[in-house]
Each structure stands twice: as C-alpha cells, then as structure tokens.
C-alpha cells in the first residue's frame, strides 16, 4: 500500500515536487515565526524566575516599561526615598539601582554599540540575583570603585577579559576595570554590566538620584498592598510588583504569539489548499484506474486509505523539509534582528517542541487535504469511473 502510494506520487514528479515545496514553505514560515516567540518566552522565563525582588519602584514616566533594568530612560528620583520606603511596614529591604547606557559607538546595535550599565550594591547581586555565577574573576565587593562585572554576551561582544579596562574616554576619563565575567544564564542578565552604584552616580553627577529601587517584602501576601502604599506615599514614583511586570510581559507575549499563530494558520491554509488541489487533480486523472481497482474488488476503505496515505506522505516530506527551512529561517531572523532591529536579547529558538509542532502540522495538512479527495473517490460509481476517459 505504501509502495503503491509512493509510486503514485512519482507519476507527476514536477507537480509532486512543486506541491511539496509549497507546503514546505508554509511550514518553514510557521516554524520560523514560532521560533521567535519561543526564543522570547525562553529568555523571559530565565530572566524572571529566581529574581529576589518583589517590588520595583520606578519613576512614574517609565512605570509602563516591562523591563526597567534593560535600558536607561534618564528619569530619576531622589535617593532619600530609600529611607522612606524602608520605613513602610511590610518592607524587608531596599536595594538602590542606578542605570546608565554606555555608548561605544554611534550605531544602534546593542552589545556592540551600547550596553546597559547597572549601578548596584554588592548585596543586590548576591541577594537578588543568586543564580548569577561567576565564570572568571569575582562579583562586586564593598569598597570597589570603577570596577565592572559583565554578562557573558557583553564580554563576548566587546572582547573583555578579567583585567581589561574600558577606554577611559567613554567613561569620562575613568578607566573601569573588569573584575568578573558572568556565566551565561540564558536570560537578559547576559546583556548587562554591573558597576558599584556610587561610582556611577558620581561619574554622571547624580550623587543623590536613583533610577530604580528594588524592594523585598516580609509578607508576600501583602505585596500588592505594600506597592500601593509606596506609590501613595512618594511623589512621582510608581511601585510595580514583580507579578505585574510579568503579566505585562505575558500580555505582550500572548499578543506576539497570537499574531504568529494567525500568520502560521494562513500558511497552513495555503498548505492544505496546495495538497488538496493536487490530490483532486490526481484522483480525477486516475478515475479509470480507481474504477478498475473497485471492479477488481478493492474496497472503498482501502481506496480511501490509499489516497490519504499519498496525501500524508506528501505532508510528511514537506514537513521535514519545512522544519529544516524553518531552522534556517530562524537563524536568519536572529541575525536580522541583531543586525537591523538592534535588540540582541531577542533570540530565536528552535526547540524539539517546535520541530514536533512543524511535523505535526504538516501531517495534519496532509490528512485534512487527503480526506475530501479520498472520500469523493471512495464514493465513485464503478461503472461511470470505468467509462471515464
């Protein structure tokens, strides 16, 4: 049966190949698009799990930004707020953060032309980012000045090693020394560099200003309440719970996913129509042969299975090709994003799950496209089919 189905597919080679290519392209796009969402979700999950802070206090202007530590927007609030926040009932600890963007070049490519520089206290790294591990060197320590701990992506892009110094002209004449390089965590932390907060504040003349205060609470059940209290107590800042930030991100992700799925489903529809039209053509050309098979005693069911098998094989081959194509496309998208869009932390990812989805979808296309022609053929009148020319 499978042998016969395969032989039947080789009858009109060009047409079979074109059909397979058409469907393969549909699958390629599906896999490629899904890999974007998948990559984003994966780095997002890496980046939000295991974070120590429960609340972010941000200047009001940037309160809608889901990833406040990634870039600096120039908005600040007074450092004395730290004491005010600390005095609120449920607050356990406050970690001041001062972020700046460090420009290496005038291009817009992250990592190559600029990096996010986070001024933090040593406690921030050890208590709120316990998952960060040092690959070379050490973390920040009390008393450090003009020292730098960099994420793996930063180190790679800038060719930094422990002991390297940043060109002084970039940092107002002060040569920062790299004391530590972090192991890749697969998340956004790979794309950041950390410096002592006082050093950065001093360098940029913002001695008493912060961009973020990361807050931990005593009673997690009262996190929301505490955030509200902070927002109400202090002017021009907004407190966002970690959960809020995550759900802001999730909304964004769901939107991206929905968009990708709708594009993918159009691709799938095209795939189904491709195979369907080919199969309908094929079976009408083979009408006489189908009548002959029925006359010989081949049952409707067997014929049905034969046609569906042919369609499934087409789908399967197209699916395999499409997965390979999708892998390539995903690499291309990653490259294009890094090259043009300038958001290097958006990496595409082709997981086995995506390959499985691609193959499954292709098989589904094959099955769906095969059912109607198979059903039509199995209902054919034998005498009429035999008379068909």
């Amino acid at each position: 049966m499978i042998k016969l189905a395969l032989r039947n597919l080789t009858r009109r080679r060009t047409r079979t190949i074109l059909t397979i290519l058409g469907v393969a392209i549909a699958i390629t796009f599906t896999v490629g698009l899904l890999s974007i969402t998948e990559g984003f979700i994966s780095s997002f999950e890496q980046s939000t799990e295991e974070r120590g802070e429960d609340i972010f206090v941000l200047p009001e202007e940037v309160a809608g930004h889901p990833m406040p530590m990634m870039e600096s927007y120039g908005a600040r609030f007074p450092e004395e707020y730290v004491g005010d926040i600390q005095s609120i009932d449920n607050v356990k600890a406050v970690y001041p953060v001062y972020t700046q963007t460090l420009y290496f070049g005038t291009g817009g490519k992250p990592m190559e032309d600029y990096i996010g520089l986070n001024g933090v206290t040593p406690a921030f790294l050890t208590e709120l980012r316990p998952f960060l591990e040092v690959e070379h060197g050490r973390l920040l320590e009390e008393g450090d000045e003009y020292k730098l701990v960099v994420g793996s992506a930063v180190a790679e892009a800038q060719g930094l090693e422990v002991g390297s110094t940043l060109p002084p002209e970039l940092t107002k004449g002060q040569g920062f020394e790299v004391v530590g390089i972090l192991k890749s965590s697969g998340g956004f932390d790979d794309f950041l560099a950390y410096a002592p907060i006082e050093t950065l504040q001093g360098l940029y003349g913002d001695q008493d200003k912060l961009t973020i205060a990361a807050v931990t609470v005593k009673d997690l059940d009262k996190t929301e309440e505490t955030a509200r209290e902070i927002t109400e107590a202090l002017p021009n800042v907004a407190a966002r719970t970690m959960e809020e930030l995550v759900s802001m991100m999730s909304d964004f992700l769901s939107m991206a996913r929905a968009m990708h799925f709708s594009i993918a489903s159009i691709a799938l529809l095209i795939g189904v129509l491709f195979i369907l039209s080919t199969m309908l053509m094929t079976v009408s050309e083979r009408m006489k042969e189908i009548g002959t098979m029925r006359a010989i005693g081949v049952s409707r069911r067997t014929l049905f299975r034969l046609i569906v098998t042919e369609s499934l094989i087409t789908g399967l081959i197209a699916g395999a090709l499409g997965c390979l194509g999708g892998f390539g496309l995903s690499k291309l998208i990653s490259y294009a994003i890094a090259e043009f869009a300038g958001v290097a932390f958006l990496q595409t990812m082709v997981s086995p799950r995506i390959f499985a989805a691609g193959l499954l979808i292709a098989l589904l296309i094959g099955a769906l496209a095969g059912l109607y022609p198979a059903w039509r053929i199995s209902k054919v009148n034998i005498v009429e089919a035999l008379r068909y020319e």
Binding site: L4, R7, N8, T10, R11, K288, E289, T292, M293, R294, A295, I296, G297, V298, S299, R300, T302, I382, V383, L386
Partner: protein, 224 residues
C-alpha cells in the same frame, strides 16, 4: 445448482436519459454453467456491457436477480460484493486498465495482495501465470513498455490471479490488431479448457466469438 456459476432471471436495467426510458437490459434469463465459454455479440448499445456489469456485480439491476454460484447477489452487503469480485470474478478490459506505476508482475500480484495472500505465494503464482500467458521475460516491465497484445496477456493473468469462478471480458480484443486478437481469443480458450474457468466474453469480432462453446446475440437489451 452448483453447476451453474451464473443464473439471471428477469434481469433488467433501465436508464432514463433526457426523459426517455432506455431498457439497456430487458428481462434477461441467462445461465452460465461451470466451465462454459459464452460469447456475447450484438450491435453497439444492445446492452452487452451492461449485462456483463450486472453479472460482475459492479452495477445494480433495476429488477430481476443474479445468482452467483446460487447466491442471490442482491442480498449481499457491499463489502461482501467486494470480496466476491476479488475472489470469484476476473475482469478483463478492452483498454487493459493495468496500473501504470506497477510492473507486469506487480499488476498480477495486486489482487492477491488485496486478498491477503502471502507475499511468497503471490510472487510464485504471478510468475507462474505470466509464464503461462507467454510473458516469462517481460515480468518486470511496466505497461507502457509492453505492446498492446502483451498488456492484454498481463490483464488476463491479473484476472486469473485469485483463481476466479468466471472471467468477464468486455471487448478484450478491441484494442489489438486482428492477428493478436486471434491469439488472445485462443488464450481465453486455453484458460477455459486448462483451468476450467467459465468465460463470458463480449465482442464485435465474429472470429473471436467462434472460440466460445456457446454464442449469444443481444439486441435492444434482449437475448435473441
């Protein structure tokens, strides 16, 4: 009863075409005994093919019955009719109707595969049948690589694959030259005498009809 492979009684098939009633087969009583070779002649449109289709269970009568080895085929479910055609009937077509993607050998094996015969046995019997019809050296050729006469020999071998009770041949020599037609006719004769298979053969060719043990003529749906 069992000496009759086929027995029809008051068998009729009526079509309506453009509001006009066409009695393609009209009240036909026909019995074909086991081992009998019947040829059916008659002008085009006289109902020969329709009669053959009714007996071969690929068409349903408007009225009347077909008994196949004593079994009223109208009582059979579709799947049983499939099995009956697969195992008891061998069709031979004017246009050969071989599967173009299969070799001669595979074409002959096909009905056996459908009948669930073991692969080894399929191969053995298909080889034997193809040798028997005179194609021992052409087994691995596809239909388009064979002549019309060779293709019809493959068609006959395929029809014999599951050792049927009757061969039903509709103008089997219609697409071959007269010399080959005679050879094909003799092959049917040989099938009939050596295998004891009943044959019902529709033809326009009096020379082909001659090899039959009984000749019937049809006109306007009736036997004359």
């Amino acid at each position: 009863m069992n000496d009759r492979v086929i027995e029809t009684s008051h068998l009729s098939k009526v079509y309506f075409m453009g509001g006009e009633e066409i009695r393609a087969v009209d009240d036909v009583d026909l019995a074909i005994a086991r081992g009998e070779f019947v040829s059916i002649m008659g002008p085009s449109g006289s109902g020969k093919t329709t009669l053959l289709n009714l007996i071969g269970c690929i068409d349903h009568p408007t009225s009347g019955t077909v008994l196949f080895e004593g079994q009223d085929v109208s009582q059979l479910k579709e799947s049983q009719l499939d099995q009956l055609r697969l195992r008891k009937v061998g069709f031979v077509f004017q246009g050969f109707n071989l599967m173009p993607v299969l070799t001669a050998l595979e074409n002959v094996m096909f009905p056996m595969e459908m009948a669930g015969v073991a692969k080894k046995e399929q191969l053995r019997r298909a080889t034997e049948l193809l040798s028997w019809v005179g194609l021992p050296k052409r087994m691995n050729h596809k239909p388009r690589e064979l002549s019309a006469g060779e293709n019809q020999r493959v068609g006959i071998a395929r029809a014999l694959a599951n050792n049927p009770a009757i061969l039903l041949a509709d103008e089997p020599t219609g697409n071959v030259d007269s010399k080959t037609a005679q050879e094909i006719a003799l092959l049917f004769k040989q099938v009939n005498s050596e295998h004891g298979t009943s044959v019902m053969l529709v033809t326009h060719n009096p020379g082909v009809a001659e090899v039959a043990t009984r000749s019937i003529e049809m006109r306007d749906g009736r036997l004359v």
